[in-house]
Structures are given as structure tokens and as C-alpha cells.
């Protein structure tokens, strides 16, 4: 038996709240972070988005940073989430154990690059941001801010990035390379990916409604979520109580299409199956699935089909929380893992807002209203472009 890995800290910063308790309140109230575009500068005002409701200048102030510095929005959104994760795990000193930092994003410094790129040859302002445009800049900025030294890297697999960061962290702990890891993902909204998703015609002009027969696509969101993972040995040493166990994970590739999901959901099926197998669990042991559930035609039928194939006639409660948080892309995997840990902790089945009409090809319908229910094992699905599918399995202690 490989050593167990536990979640001992969480940090979240998104459209539904600044921090864990505000986020929990929004989840309990079924309050969505979505609304008309307020912060992002774009001509496409027709799409609702779930924005972190602060301009960069406000985030700089809230984070207590030097106003003269150059920061990507990615960094500004991630910083409070990493800080909260460390605090909630009671970690003050990083050098008392081998501590890794694994972050994830896809757009990186694109929020600044897209403002300058067309005038790159002339702009003096752009000079300050040139070296912040890549994906890893925010990771190193955060690592240096907090003092992570033992291992630092960045995963980037589109909308499963955050989940893959967590998975790598757990695997490094299991092999004894690290004692604990802060891992997660983040994404800020950019014109770049709003336009990109729009070019694929998969954005919903109304608030998204996953698993609805009449779903119309994605509602984008932004935010960051980070968890602290610790080894069993670390917990024995410190006597700290974990929040839950990361008891399994699976990663599989659709190998079907660069962006669309396969009709049979093979990638989703394999990722979920692997997670169960790793934890030695059977489908009937799963009490809740936090679905990837983007609200696109292709994802929901693919994921729904995979769920039916794995669970047959006994599909556990399923919901997508993206109508609440928006699709936070690279952050979705880690934000939803945190939502799952809250569901375990408080015994909650979270609602799939905006849902009305059952999908004709599925034998299940999503959770409509918040329900109290004792949960033991929950799955969190995250699927990305290129068929990069990852599933995390969280278990109550």
C-alpha cells in the first residue's frame, strides 16, 4: 500500500467569494457569481461571466502589494488563495519540511499581453510586462513571495490543469520526494479566451445550464483554488487533523478530437474508473459526482454517457457547480476539488443551477436543490481541450 495523502488546507478566491467561508455561504445560498461583464474590457458584452469583482488596482491594494509593481491578474487572483491555503493548514514556516508548489494556468500573462501585443513594437509600458507573459511567471512570483524552494513547476492542460497539478503533488508525496505540496490552478478572464471560445461557438448567451436538453454552452469565470496536501507521516508528526483524504485519481486521454469530447466518453470513463480502482472502491461507494458539466452539447453528453457506463442504473447524485462559479478553466479542477471537500465536510449535495429539462439520452438528472446528505466518497471531474481528462476522488476520514 502506498502512503496516503491528505488535504489539510484550502484557499479559494473567485466570483463567489473572497475566501473559504464567503464561498461556502454563496454555495449554501445557491448564489451565482455570474453577471454582465464589468471588469474585462471586451466588445463581446453579450455573454454573462463570473468575474472576480475587483479591478487589478483594487487587487493590488487588497493584497498589500507595491502599487508600482507589475502584476498579471493571474498572480493577483492566485495570491490570496495560496495565502489562505497555507494559513488554513497552519503552515507558518515552509522550511520545516520539504514543501512543493505546483501551480496551473493556461492564459498566464495573457491579460497584459493582449493589451499590448498589437502595439508591442512601440509601447514603453509593455516593456515591463514582456517577461510576465508566459505561463510559469505567476508560479515563480508566488513561489518567491511565499518562499517555496523545494519543488516548483507548472502544469498546463487547459481545463484540467488544476486537477493535474493536485495529482502530481499527491504522487510526489507518495513517492517520498516531498512531505507536503501546495497545488492548484488559477485563471483570469481574458479577451483572448472569451474570443477563442466564441470562435468555437460554445458560449451561452444566457447563464449556462449543464445537463439540460436545451443547454447552450459555457459561461466563463475566473478564480483560483489551492489545496495543501500532506503525507501521512507529516500528520503523524504534527498531530494535525486532515480535512479529507485524496484517496484516488485518474488521468486518461480521449484521443478523439482537439476540442470536442468523444460521444462515448471513453476518457471520462477511464479517468473515473482509475480513480475508483486506486482507492479500491466500487461504483456504489460513490455518494456524489461533481461533474465537469460545462454546458456544451459535446461535454455533457460525453460525460453523462461515461457516468451511465460506469454506474449503470445506480448513478449517484450528480451536479455541475459551474452555473455558480462559471467555468474557471485552469482553476476549475482545484476550485471544484475544494467544493467537494466542503461537500464532504458539511454533508452537502450541491445544486446544478438553471437546470430545467432532462437530456433525452441520459438516465439521470442533476441535483436541483441543495440537499443535506452524509457523504463518504465524492468524485471531481475535470476535462480539458485535447481530451486531457482527470478525475480526483476525495474521501471522508
Amino acid at each position: 500500500m502506498p502512503p496516503k495523502v491528505f488535504i489539510t488546507g484550502r484557499g479559494i478566491f473567485s466570483s463567489i467569494g473572497q475566501g473559504l467561508s464567503a464561498s461556502l455561504e454563496s454555495l449554501l445560498a445557491g448564489r451565482s457569481g455570474k453577471g454582465p461583464i464589468r471588469i474585462l474590457e471586451t466588445l463581446h458584452r453579450e455573454f454573462p461571466v463570473a468575474e472576480v469583482p475587483y479591478h487589478d488596482e483594487e487587487l493590488i491594494r487588497m493584497n498589500g502589494l507595491d502599487p508600482a509593481g507589475t502584476y498579471t491578474r493571474t498572480f493577483l487572483i492566485a495570491l490570496p488563495a495560496v495565502k489562505e491555503a497555507l494559513e488554513s493548514a497552519g503552515i507558518n514556516k515552509l522550511d520545516e519540511a520539504r514543501t512543493g508548489f505546483i501551480s496551473a494556468t493556461t492564459v498566464g500573462g495573457m491579460d497584459k499581453k493582449e493589451n499590448f501585443y498589437h502595439i508591442a513594437a512601440e509601447s514603453q509600458e509593455w516593456l515591463k510586462y514582456i517577461d510576465t507573459q508566459d505561463v510559469a511567471e505567476h508560479t515563480e512570483r508566488l513561489a518567491d513571495h511565499f518562499g517555496f524552494r523545494d519543488f516548483v513547476t507548472t502544469a498546463s492542460t487547459a481545463c484540467s490543469s488544476g486537477a493535474n497539478a493536485i495529482m502530481l503533488g499527491a504522487r510526489m508525496i507518495r513517492q517520498g520526494l516531498l512531505d507536503r505540496v501546495v497545488a492548484g490552478g488559477n485563471e483570469c478572464l481574458t479577451r483572448f479566451h472569451l474570443n477563442g471560445f466564441n470562435s468555437l461557438m460554445i458560449l451561452d448567451k444566457e447563464a449556462c445550464k449543464p445537463f439540460d436538453q436545451n443547454r447552450g454552452g459555457i459561461s466563463l469565470g475566473e478564480g483560483a483554488g489551492y489545496v495543501v496536501l500532506e503525507s501521512e507521516a507529516m500528520l503523524e508528526k504534527s498531530g494535525k487533523k486532515a480535512l479529507c483524504e485524496l484517496s484516488g485519481y485518474g488521468n486518461s486521454c480521449e484521443a478523439f478530437h482537439p476540442t470536442a469530447s468523444s460521444p462515448d466518453g471513453i476518457g471520462a470513463f477511464l479517468a473515473m474508473s482509475q480513480a475508483l480502482e486506486m482507492a479500491g472502491l466500487k461504483p456504489q461507494d460513490i455518494d456524489y459526482i461533481n461533474a465537469h458539466g460545462t454546458g456544451t452539447d459535446s461535454n455533457d453528453i460525453s460525460e453523462g454517457t461515461a457516468i451511465m457506463r460506469l454506474f449503470g442504473e445506480h448513478v449517484p447524485p450528480v451536479s455541475s457547480t459551474k452555473p455558480i462559479t462559471g467555468h474557471t478553466t485552469s482553476a476549475a479542477g482545484s476550485i471544484e476539488a475544494i467544493i467537494c471537500s466542503l461537500a464532504l465536510e458539511h454533508g452537502l449535495l450541491l445544486p446544478n443551477l438553471n437546470w430545467k429539462t432532462p437530456m433525452t439520452d441520459l438516465n439521470f438528472t442533476p441535483v436541483e436543490r441543495l440537499e443535506k446528505k452524509e457523504l463518504r466518497h465524492v468524485l471531481s471531474n475535470s476535462f480539458g481541450f485535447g481530451g486531457n481528462n482527470t478525475c480526483l476522488l476525495l474521501s471522508k476520514l
Binding site: M110, A155, P258
Partner: protein, 355 residues
């Protein structure tokens, strides 16, 4: 812990490295300010209709992936993992320009489809119909090595027996122009092959794609045994590297004098090259050493070129001309240690042993 072997390799680089079972007869000297790959005819390797759609970095990546598999005689790898520093910069820049020129209309969806950095890994999976583990890392000078580390973890977990790992970066015009503005580059005054001795502030950029098939099974065509890998983030001082190297050797039951050859990442910027000098003097005085970046230029995943070079040296049992610090000094090569860093921030140690 199971041993890990490098069973197949393939490399597209500014040198004639592709589809070459031996070192090129001679190294190409570049007089321009950056080094570009000597690319193969892609339609020999990728369906021409598909190849027309794919951006250059994806074609480079997919082609080395397929040929590395062929080299290893592996049809279906049990993991596909890519590291890339620049990722899909080429497609991103096209979208940004289109967004500006057409006021956020008429964005070509193909560019967006290829705009996520995991496109190489997923495109390889689509071509092979490979449903196994698939991941991508994008972290400057750790991009390739994070992918390599992930593969080593998988093989040691016993979850996969073979893993296809690559490091891919293609220089774009936009990237060159941007970083020129913040003085990242230096002029190539005396030819790229003299890059290391003709020192100056800044680097001469390059590019490349290299793939490796790792396996827990040793075969007749195994290049080397991949013993250990260590990523060191922003070390405070050179001693951190010598400590890391000592520990890495100790874990493998080796002493510094057991290393037959060191392969260093000098690029001719004295500030960065000092790390290698300190490292060599404190642990490996008298051990033969070689360079590689004068052949491929400086880029995020240059470490993949280093691993290609090291694999070839182990397999051929000889060091090619034009890379030794002092010519003709390397003897029987049993253990080879790569030490390379990127911008003084991401430092990597990688130990190979003869099979």
C-alpha cells in the same frame, strides 16, 4: 525501485540530428542571431492534410514523437508527457493580431484549438489513439524536466511500463522581437559554434524538439539507464548544486570520481556560466566535460537536446568532436551527469549510466 531505460530517441534541432543513427558528420555553424531547426519534410511523417493545419511547433513535436516510438519499436506508449516553455505562442500571437485587426471578430477557431499548450501531447494521442496518461508542463527551464520527472514517477509507480516524453519549443518572430526589446539576446559575432568562448551578456536563442521512449524493460537497443533527476529552483548559492549532486550520486551508490563525463549548459553569458565553473571546481576537478548549447542555442527545453546528446554518447560509446572542453579527454564512459540551467533560475541535474 525498477530501473528506467531510454529505449528510443528522436531529435529535430538546428543540427542534422533527425533520423540519424549517428552524430552528424559535422556541426552546422550559424552566423545569424538565432538558430533555427533543420526540419524534415513533415508530410513524410504526418498526413499532409493534417500537417497543413498544424503549427510548426506541433509538427516538430509530433514528428519526433512518432520517430522516437519507431526507434524504440514501441507502438503504443502507456503515457505521453510533453514539456514546452513557449507552448502555443505561435497560435496565440495569430489570435492576438486577428483580435486587434478585426475588432474581436472572425477569430480562426483552428488557432484557438491549437492555443492551449497541451496540444502536442493531445495531438500525439489522437494520432496513436492512445487513451493512456497524458500531461503537459509549461515552466521555463523546468518544462521538459517536469515531464521527465512525471514519466519517471509513473514508471516507478508501476502504472505505466513505457512513457513517451518530449521537450518542444519553436522560436517565433514575436517572441524574438519582444525579448529583444528587453535585451535578452546578444549578437552572434563569430559564428554559433564559438558561442561559448566568444562571451557576452545575453544569449543566442535556439529551438528544438526531442522525444524519448522510457521503459522499465531493457532492450537490445536501449541507449542508457536514466538513474536520477533533480530539479533545483533558484538556488541561493553554488553550494546548493554541489549538495544536490552529492546526494544524487550517493543515492545511486556513486562517488564524484565515478562520473566519466559531465555535460554542461554553458551559453557564453559569463554570469550564467559561472555556475558551471563553480560546480566543476568544487566536485569534479579533473573530470572530462563537454558543452551542448553552442549546437542548439538557448531555449526553455534545451535540456531535451542535452538528453538526446547524452543518450547518443552512451549508445555510441564515444563523444563527438567539437563538444569537449578539452579535446579527446573522455575515455570509457560509464556514468554521465548533465548539469544545465536556464537563466540561473531553473537548474537541472540528470544522471545516466551505461546499460
Amino acid at each position: 525501485m525498477s530501473e528506467i531505460f531510454i529505449n528510443g530517441i528522436s531529435c529535430i534541432s538546428p543540427q542534422e540530428t533527425f533520423n540519424n543513427s549517428d552524430f552528424p558528420a559535422e556541426w552546422t555553424d550559424y552566423s545569424g542571431d538565432f538558430l533555427s531547426c533543420r526540419e524534415p519534410v513533415y508530410k513524410d511523417h504526418i498526413n499532409p492534410t493534417l500537417a497543413r493545419r498544424l503549427s510548426r511547433y506541433i509538427k516538430m513535436g509530433v514528428t519526433t514523437a512518432l520517430t522516437a516510438l519507431k526507434d524504440a519499436g514501441t507502438e503504443m506508449p502507456e503515457a505521453i508527457i510533453t514539456g514546452t516553455g513557449l507552448g502555443s505562442t505561435e497560435d496565440n500571437e495569430k489570435i492576438l493580431l486577428a483580435m486587434h485587426e478585426n475588432q474581436e471578430r472572425m477569430i480562426n477557431p483552428t488557432h484557438f484549438i491549437q492555443s492551449t499548450h497541451n496540444t502536442i501531447s493531445s495531438q500525439i494521442a489522437i494520432m496513436l489513439k492512445c487513451h493512456h496518461y497524458n500531461n503537459t508542463y509549461v515552466h521555463r527551464g523546468f518544462s521538459f524536466e517536469s515531464a521527465l520527472l512525471d514519466a519517471m514517477l509513473l514508471l516507478r509507480e508501476g502504472r505505466s511500463r513505457t512513457a513517451l516524453v518530449g521537450g518542444v519549443d519553436a522560436l517565433t518572430e514575436g517572441h524574438y522581437i519582444n525579448y529583444e526589446r528587453i535585451s535578452r539576446w546578444r549578437r552572434n559575432r563569430s559564428g554559433s559554434l564559438k558561442m561559448i568562448t566568444d562571451q557576452g551578456k545575453g544569449v543566442i536563442p535556439g529551438e528544438g524538439s526531442a522525444h524519448f521512449v522510457l521503459s522499465t524493460d531493457k532492450t537490445e537497443t536501449s541507449y542508457a539507464s536514466l538513474k536520477a533527476l533533480k530539479l533545483v529552483y533558484k538556488p541561493a548559492e553554488p553550494a546548493a548544486l554541489t549538495d544536490a549532486a552529492s546526494n544524487l550520486l550517493k543515492d545511486g551508490g556513486l562517488l564524484p570520481q565515478d562520473i566519466s563525463l559531465l555535460l554542461y549548459g554553458h551559453n557564453g553569458d559569463p554570469e550564467g556560466d559561472r555556475w558551471y565553473q563553480d560546480f566543476h571546481q568544487s566536485l569534479f576537478c579533473g573530470t572530462p566535460s563537454a558543452y551542448y548549447k553552442h549546437l542548439c542555442g538557448e531555449y526553455d527545453t534545451a535540456g531535451a537536446f542535452a538528453l538526446w546528446m547524452a543518450s547518443m554518447i552512451m549508445r555510441r560509446g564515444r563523444v563527438p568532436s567539437g563538444i569537449m572542453t578539452k579535446e579527446g579527454a573522455a575515455g570509457d564512459i560509464r556514468h554521465l551527469l548533465i548539469y544545465t540551467h536556464h537563466r540561473g533560475d531553473q537548474h537541472v541535474l540528470c544522471l545516466l549510466s551505461r546499460v
